[in-house]
Structure formats: structure tokens, C-alpha cells
Amino acid sequence: MKKKILMRGNDAVAEAVIRAGCRHYYGYPITPQNEIPEYLAQKFPELGGTFVQAESEIAAACMVLGSSAAGVRTMTSTSSPGMTLKLEAISYMSGARLPCVIVNVMRGGPGLGNIAGSQSDYFQATKGGAHGDYQSIVLAPENVQEFADQTMLAFDLSDKYRVVAMVLGDGYLGQMSEPVVLPDPVQSVPKKPWALTGKKGRDQQVLASLRLLPDALGNHNIDLQNLYAEITKAEVRFDSYMTEDADYLIVAYGTCARVSRTAIKALRNSGIKVGLFRPITLWPFPSAQIGELAKKVKKILTIEMCMGQMVQDVRLSVGCKTEVDLYGVAGGVIPDVDKIVERIKSYE
């Protein structure tokens, strides 16, 4: 068995970036994700990588765009207010089919909000965020191990489909240290024949989001939708815990899923059968799986570190099959186990 080491979430992400074969990082500092660029700034020089602390988030995201067009694995990391600034480049990359990985260590909003962990960027991450009909793959870790593993996975998915892949953590996951078994380094990174490498010996290649003719842009959008349908079919990921005999179902991701597990144990000890469904991909969202579970339970409680965003996707998945309740917290606190227990008990 490989050795477990104690590692901070942000450091584990940065190490996973290196192990995924990424050598091009562009960023701009923001708490609570600063350990990611700090780690890479230290390690990249000896690995022959490129680390740039740009003049702004917008510049950093555009540098990622350029690097991606040149065919290398590239990424940026940020936290919520910085994510907003990076959206322009994300829309352009999605339009031009340029892969990249973005790690958003969410903090509280709106605006500058605060620096504590939050989940209030769910809409921004999963519903586009920027302009145009596009989707990014969104992965949601619940512990440091998954934060590292999903960072590796994000590179693979992003390259496979040529879309932006985001790892959506939060300030708690970024700052906390936990035992982690680091993933093995990749042996090689995928070849990208579409990349702009100089046209000597081949035909000209163009990577652009601009398509002035209605037909060209229309067909491009249809292609994108077909791609998103393919991703939805193949890449839905989720986890479930004690759902087999559950009368009540909690739907929660990331940090909220951790506290839900503790609440479920306490509830089961007092004879109330509760289970947890945890979306791992927030896009594509595991709608069908939640819809199936909805047929079997009396009520669903969605728990979020925001005032209720994922709950809308849960309601769409459930339709009229059962009632969906929300327990949302804001301001940078983690949902309270006792309050979860109390809420579920109130359904009895």
C-alpha cells in the first residue's frame, strides 16, 4: 500500500497538477487558494515549467487560452471573485474548443464577501457563468484525496472532450490538511494535432470562437450541444451512502456531504433511515439517478453552503415525485450536524 501523507488541500491540488503533466500555470493571488500558486512557483522552475503571476485574473485566464491553443496542458486556479474575472476567457475557450483546467476554491460572496469556504458559485460553474451556450465539466471533491484525484481527472476529461474542466472546491477543502495518497504521475500527455504549432509541413489551422455567418455559428452550436449530450451520457459521476433502505434522502456535495454523513449516522442510531446522494460531477448533473431515488423516499433535503442553488437542479431531477426541502447556510460556516438531525426529525 502506498504511503499516506498529511497534506493541505491546496498543496495536494498543486502536486496533482504536476503529476498530471501540466507545466503551464498562470494565476493571480487570492485567498483561500494561494498555496496552489505558491507550491507551483516553487516547483515549476526545477521541472522546466512556466509559472506566471499575471497582472490580473483576466490576463491570467487569457494566458491559459494562449497556452492551450499551443497544445500544452495548462491551468489556472482562483477563488470566487477571481473566477468572475476569468469567465470571459472561459467562454472564448469553450467556443474555440480549447481544453484547460480551472480550480475554484470557493469563498463567500457576493462581491468580495469573505475568505471562508462557501458553495455559492454553483450556478456560475454549472450554468455557464459567462455568455453563450456552453458548458464546463464541473467536479466536486469532498476531501483532500478527491481534490487531488479530481484535479488529475479534470485534465484527462478536458483533453478528451476539448472543453473547460473545473474542480470546484471550497475554502475549507483548500485550507484543511488530511491524509492523502498521492496519485501516480502520468507517463505521457495526449497529443493535440489541432494545436497551433506553426503551419510548416501542414495545412493552416484556426482556433477561434468567432463565426460571423449564421449557418457557421448555428452549426457550431449544434456540434457543441451534441458534444455536451455525449459528455452527459458518459461522464456522470456520483456517490451514494446508505440509500438502499432510506426513507429520507440528503443530497449534498463537497464539504456539506461530509457533515451529512455524520448526521446520517446519528439519525440511523435513533432509528430514522436516511441516506446520502452526493453528486461528484455537478455538470453533468446526475439527474436520472436522483429521479430514481426520489420514487423511493418520503422527502429529500438538499444541503448547501449557500442560500440554495443546487436545490434547483435537484427539484428539476425530482419533478413531482416527492417534496424537496433546503437547508442552506451562508457567510462562511459549515452546516451544523445537530440542525440537519433536527430538520430530518421534523419530517417524522
Partner: protein, 179 residues
């Protein structure tokens, strides 16, 4: 076994390192652990603290609000965290720097001259190690003294590893001094 702990002191007293060493020691004994620092607008000379959870079960929330154990290195930390300790909780406080007495009578207060123990072994910076020695003596479920000493290899930065033998001695001395 499930223990939630807050370690608090001035920035620079080794608060975060102490939490990390305790976590590594417990982790090597197969326990679930988490460590989270207070982060953000911290300043030199201000208070720093970290939350540590050590459990037989996977850790749900890493944030510690009302700890079972509190280790305080300085007077402001005592004042801030003593009220948050659970009833019957353990307070380990550094009497080298803290001249006040804990106020509560529903907790177990353990006094230790942590800076003096460190200085006795020729180190100005080993106070946190003395606190850890006292911790595992009073709360043996966290980790064995040997695991704590072994954790120095993984937990200390390269530049500080040369102090590991001294730090291990300080841990042992504090462990033996606490009854």
C-alpha cells in the same frame, strides 16, 4: 474515540506545526485526522490557532467550535478559547508565559512551564514540543509518545529537521513531568 482540539498562541510560536505533528502521529496509528489553520488577515504578534480533529471515524467538519481539548501558548489565547472549551474538557496552558489562572472550575486545567522545559534543553523554539508531550500524556488516545517523536521526520521542514533529536527530548521531558 473522537477528539476535537484547538491549539492557540501568538503567530510564530509553532501553533500550526504542533497541530500538524499531532495529526501525523495519530495518522500513523491509523486514525482519521484533519487540521485547519485560522487563515486570512493574520498579523505578526496577533493570535493564531488551528483546529485539529482526531477520530476513529472519518472526520466530518474540520472546523472546531467547542473543543474537547485546548492547548494555549499565550495569555490572549487563554482568554479567547477557555470559554469555548466543552464542560469537562482539558485545558493545557503554558505557564512560562501565562501568569493568569484559568477561570472555569468545570474543566481540567493542566499547567506546564513549556518555554522553561524547552530552554533547559538548549532550545528557544521547542515550547510547542513540550506542549505536545504534555498532551499525549494527558490524552493518550491521541497518539503514543513514540508516534509523536516519529512524526517529526515527516512534519518538520527540511531546514528544521536538524532540531528533531532536541525536540524529541523536549517532548519526552514534558511527558515525564506531567503526572
Amino acid at each position: 474515540m473522537h477528539k476535537e482540539m484547538i491549539i492557540a498562541g501568538f503567530g510564530g510560536q509553532g501553533v500550526l506545526v504542533a497541530g500538524k505533528i499531532a495529526c501525523i502521529a495519530a495518522m500513523t496509528e491509523g486514525k482519521h485526522v484533519s487540521h485547519i489553520p485560522s487563515y486570512g488577515a493574520e498579523m505578526r504578534g496577533g493570535t493564531a490557532h488551528c483546529g485539529v480533529v482526531i477520530s476513529d471515524e472519518p472526520v466530518s467538519s474540520p472546523v472546531v467550535v467547542n473543543p474537547d481539548i485546548c492547548m494555549v501558548f499565550s495569555t490572549p489565547s487563554l482568554n479567547k478559547f477557555e470559554p469555548r472549551l466543552k464542560k469537562g474538557g482539558i485545558l493545557i496552558y503554558n505557564t512560562s508565559l501565562i501568569k493568569e489562572k484559568p477561570k472555569r472550575d468545570d474543566i481540567v486545567a493542566i499547567a506546564i512551564d513549556a518555554n522553561d522545559i524547552s530552554l533547559k534543553h538548549g532550545s528557544k523554539n521547542g515550547m510547542n514540543m513540550a506542549m505536545l508531550g504534555a498532551l499525549v500524556k494527558k490524552v493518550p488516545e491521541i497518539a503514543k509518545l513514540d508516534s509523536l517523536k516519529a512524526a517529526l521526520d515527516e512534519g518538520m521542514t527540511e531546514r528544521n529537521k536538524k532540531h528533531n533529536p532536541t525536540n524529541a527530548t523536549i517532548m519526552t521531558d514534558a511527558y515525564n513531568l506531567i503526572s
